[in-house]
């Protein structure tokens, strides 16, 4: 099976987020970047497991500049066979999707994997976009994926429940918790990753239909009101009369 895993880089959750003077851009100084956890822990690892069980290859693709190579190498160290980076600073999800689709369309991938969303823009859009561009079925929020021949049985998380879906390859899928367990790259993986191919390709031209006008920080929380643990009637009164949530 030929598997493609789309990976994104995102600021580590513990990094402090600040913006430049006119609040139109993220201030990237001092930001620690990681591979988006859903891409790494669930999508990539499940693809590698399938490759181990059924043969074939796992390619990872990232849209971004050369500074992303460390994240791509980590994906190779975890177990992907090859990597592609489309060399552009993307301005929108639609652009990212078009770059990925332009590369993938003639490659004959059986499954295209995504994480369920990125933890920076939390958009959850790229998977659906790529699926539409490649005219593939798309199963989102998959918490389980089993192959039987050319078909997959997938559990999809929905609000308060689960859907079980059968779909034949080729298809696209976005991975949520449950799909696989995180893998830490070992020394051998890290060493071989250095020799695995990382192809850098030029972007295709696209048009952006969205742009960030400004960023804003949430209004500062007022200090916590401490309530006497003996007096829960007072808490209930505040929740009812002040917060008006009861």
């Amino acid at each position: 099976m030929k598997l493609l895993v789309c990976v994104s880089k995102t600021p580590d959750t513990t990094t402090k987020i600040t913006f430049n003077g006119d609040k139109t851009q993220l201030d990237t100084t001092g930001i620690q970047y990681i591979m988006n956890p859903y891409d790494e822990w669930y999508a990539l690892v499940r693809a590698i497991e399938l490759q181990e069980a059924e043969g074939g290859s796992v390619t990872i693709i990232n849209v971004g500049g050369a500074e992303n190579d460390s994240i791509i190498r980590k994906g190779l160290a975890i177990g992907a066979d090859a990597a592609v980076r489309i060399d552009t600073e993307s301005g929108s999800s639609l652009d990212v999707a078009k770059q990925i689709a332009a590369y993938a369309k003639d490659q004959g991938f059986d499954i295209v994997f995504f994480g369920k969303e990125t933890i920076d823009y939390n958009g959850s859009e790229v998977g659906a976009m790529v699926a539409e561009l490649l005219e593939m079925p798309f199963i989102s929020y998959a918490s389980k994926l089993e192959m039987n021949g050319d078909a997959a049985t997938i559990n999809r998380d929905i609000e308060g429940g689960t859907e079980v879906i059968e779909v034949a390859t080729p298809f696209a899928v976005s991975a949520a918790k449950g799909m696989a367990e995180q893998r830490i790259p070992n020394m051998k993986g890290i060493m071989t990753a250095k020799r695995k191919p990382l192809e850098v390709l030029a972007p295709v031209a696209t048009t952006d239909f969205t742009h960030v006008v400004s960023y804003e920080m949430p209004s500062a929380k007022s200090a916590v009101k401490l309530i006497d643990p003996e007096n829960m009637d007072e808490l209930v009164r505040l929740l009812s009369e002040e917060a008006k949530v009861l």
């Binding site: 999707a97 939390n122 689960t162 079980v164 960030v212 804003e216």
Partner: protein
């Protein structure tokens, strides 16, 4: 026209659909447009959406549309947008809406904002809308410049408001392509409100010491009519089911009230809950980081405080 895709689940509309129509109606008012709703598959009482501001309700009652296939839904919605001449399309930011939005952006060659949390602004012809980014640490105000604009809205972003009467339902005719997926089964936990939709949430963490102690949490939730949630380590070790895990790697919630007992408030936990309107933290450690994100704090032993709170709520309900 502002066209709202109003999701139905098992033929019924949930709060997300009413919120979306209210959002579409208010957006239409702002832009001097009319608002219409689009309903796919089995749906009783589609005309009721008129009450929330849909001047017209277009219904395509094809059984193939009773469950989501994002490919089929996107083809049908895009055809409806073109047939009806919609300029703005509003979806709910649910597992359904999120699976369709990106496809629509491709089909309609349109800009999209996923997960808006407030009404758009529309000044000098510029349409822009805010959404939380960096797991709730900031908001981005994003302009959409394409002729058709796509927005999905987060649950609990604005209260559904009744502004009129039910309307007659207009049948919609657009081609429905064949599906390439097969839905084997759909199971939903009955009785409780799913976490992403819950207005009241009671959550507990490792401070509970073991799964056998969860009775006090369930009682508090029952008394409130709340949905239960938990921190990640608690679901990782199997004390609670995975679907209760909230936070960066679990479910994001934004209820009106989030009560956290025995949870320290790690940044990855806060990422999933910090958009809650009111946060109550019960923790025996006054230095627990969660108190910094809380509106109300109780420093004390949860095994004493939680039952006391349940009792206080019971009393409050009797008086109300």
């Amino acid at each position: 026209m502002v066209l709202v895709f109003a999701e139905s689940v098992n033929g019924k509309f949930k709060k997300a659909a009413f919120e979306a129509v209210t959002y579409g109606y208010q957006t239409a008012q702002l832009m001097g447009l009319s608002c219409a709703a689009l309903v796919l598959g089995k749906a009783a009482d589609a005309g009721e959406l008129g009450k929330y501001g849909a001047a017209k309700v277009h219904h395509l009652a094809n059984d193939q549309l009773n469950n989501l296939d994002s490919q089929v839904y996107a083809a049908v919605i895009a055809a409806a947008v073109e047939q009806l001449g919609a300029q703005v399309v509003v979806l709910s930011h649910t597992s359904t809406g999120k699976s369709i939005l990106g496809r629509l952006a491709v089909r309609l060659d349109a800009g999209s904002v996923p997960g808006a949390n407030a009404l758009p602004t529309y000044t000098d012809g510029v349409f822009a809308v805010s959404k939380p980014v960096f797991s709730g640490k900031a908001f981005a105000h994003i302009a959409i410049t394409s002729p058709v604009k796509l927005v999905s809205i987060m649950g609990n972003s604005l209260p559904p408001a009744i502004v009129g009467d039910a309307v007659a339902v207009t049948p919609l005719e657009v081609p429905v392509p064949a599906s390439r997926i097969k839905i084997i089964s759909v199971s939903r936990i009955e009785g409780t409100t799913p976490l992403p939709e819950a207005e009241l949430v009671v959550s507990a963490g490792r401070g509970m010491k073991g799964p056998e102690n969860w009775g006090i949490i369930e009682e508090l939730a029952k008394e409130l009519g709340a949905t239960t949630a938990c921190s990640r380590p608690v679901s990782d070790v199997g004390w609670r089911p995975h679907h209760e895990h909230v936070g960066q790697t679990g479910i994001t919630v934004r209820p009106n009230l989030y009560i956290a007992a025995g949870i320290s408030g790690a940044i990855q936990h806060l990422a999933g809950v910090n958009s809650s309107k009111t946060i109550v933290v019960i923790n025996k450690d006054p230095e627990a980081p969660f108190f910094k994100a809380a509106d109300y704090g109780v420093v004390g032993d949860l095994f004493e405080v939680v039952p006391r709170l349940t009792e206080a709520i019971r009393k409050h309900k009797q008086h109300a």
